[in-house]
Symmetry: C2
Subunit: 251 residues, 2 copies
């Protein structure tokens, strides 16, 4: 499994991914799921992946190859004029990679090798944008109503984002929110694991404003994990108490 | 979908279930998923169900029939000597109902019509016990390490139970905890819906100490739902702040 979140706030984009991949619980490894390309001053494009690792690595490698020799290649991430077109190209690559592997495996391949992608970035002269790309190659874009996307093990960490998100929040608060969301997920699903990758992209910065790998020993993540238990308990006790008597009165 | 939780605490058992059933989002109904039988002074047995509604209703009807004419019927819930044997019989009924419907439908029935059950109760002279029964008819029992079971849409509401649960908590706190867990789930999954059914079974009470249907208009549930957003935000802001500077130092 995997857990990745991409969040759009007024100040820019905040992205976080775990790094655990597993093929059975007895075969886990650390693989980077966040990949970024930038031309400072012109554009930054970051991709997070969930799903079949061979599929996602193939897609990333092809995106990477295109950026390395842009003069030879059409549709390089670094040449496309808009984030929309970057999403179209990435979606096409994803769909083709999945379809090809499925076909190569005949009936055994049916329904397998799928993956999905969160794409975030900004190109000069345009807004920061955030997309979720489906295995079918089509995609949706974050909006005022739905300003964040999750892929992988999305459920455990969702309630806190729904409650804590605020468009006007600071980057520091956004990072804190994602850390809490990841901590809840890590506690509940063994197949999501540390280290985490964090990237903050400030609006009109066109490069990673802040980038960090959060390791097992990270003191801030440990502090969040410890104090969140305590804070939740306090929050819980601050709620009005249930009363059997009142409750029966209202029945 | 469905969401049901059964929780064992020192004082007894606390059970909550939603009542929404759906066959597509355009076909939702209210059905009771919590069913209880008791002989005050001797035993109380409560069952919560998730899964195919025809399956779960068939199981409940058969359990019900057996209790209505216990002199004619073996294996009535009201006659079995232990909760373990109640779990065995309920599991057997569940498995047989599923298998029969699957067989009746040939290949079209494969993998369908499944359901699972949370069984809770106490029989005089023994401890309160809590079981989760699988579609295969086998089951597990709650223990000191895993003192609660969830069925249906379990993920959204799990983190708060993991953090908030305390064996020594009062019934009032346990109800509050379940309300928060259900509120998080209701907010995230449309197929879990109000009203909720609540039952509290005090140890050695052998009847429902407290039973309530929590409707859309329930003032306590509304208060919890509103104040939990506020309390969570406060909890969130009480956490140590992330600092880009410290973060880079620790990299």
């Amino acid at each position: 499994m995997t857990y990745c979140v991409g969040m759009a706030i007024d100040k820019g984009l905040v992205l976080m991914s775990d790094t655990r991949t597993n093929s059975g619980v007895d075969n886990i490894s650390v693989f980077k799921k966040m990949h970024s390309w930038s031309t400072p001053g012109d554009r930054i494009i970051t991709v997070m992946t969930a799903g079949n690792l061979a599929t996602t690595q193939a897609v990333i490698s092809q995106l990477e190859e295109r950026t390395k020799a842009p003069e030879d290649r059409q549709n390089s991430l670094m040449e496309l004029p808009t984030m929309f077109q970057v999403a179209v190209e990435t979606g096409k690559l994803l769909r083709e990679t999945i379809t090809q592997t499925q076909q190569d495996n005949g009936t055994r391949g049916k329904g397998r090798f799928t993956a999905s992608i969160i794409l975030a970035g900004q190109i000069k002269g345009m807004q920061p944008r955030l997309f979720m790309i489906y295995p079918e190659g089509n995609f949706i874009e974050a909006s005022f109503d739905t300003p964040f996307f999750q892929i992988g093990e999305t459920k455990y960490g969702r309630p806190i984002i729904l409650r804590g998100y605020d468009r006007t929040m600071s980057f520091e608060d956004a990072v804190k929110l994602l850390m809490v969301s990841f901590d809840s997920t890590l506690k509940a699903n063994l197949s999501v694991g540390l280290p985490l990758d964090l990237m903050v992209i400030e609006r009109d910065g066109f490069e990673a404003t802040h980038e960090k790998r959060i390791e097992q020993t990270d003191p801030y993540f440990s502090a969040i994990s410890d104090s969140w238990s305590e804070a939740l308990r306090n929050a819980f006790h601050s709620l009005p108490d249930y009363s059997f008597y009142q409750a029966s009165k209202t029945t």
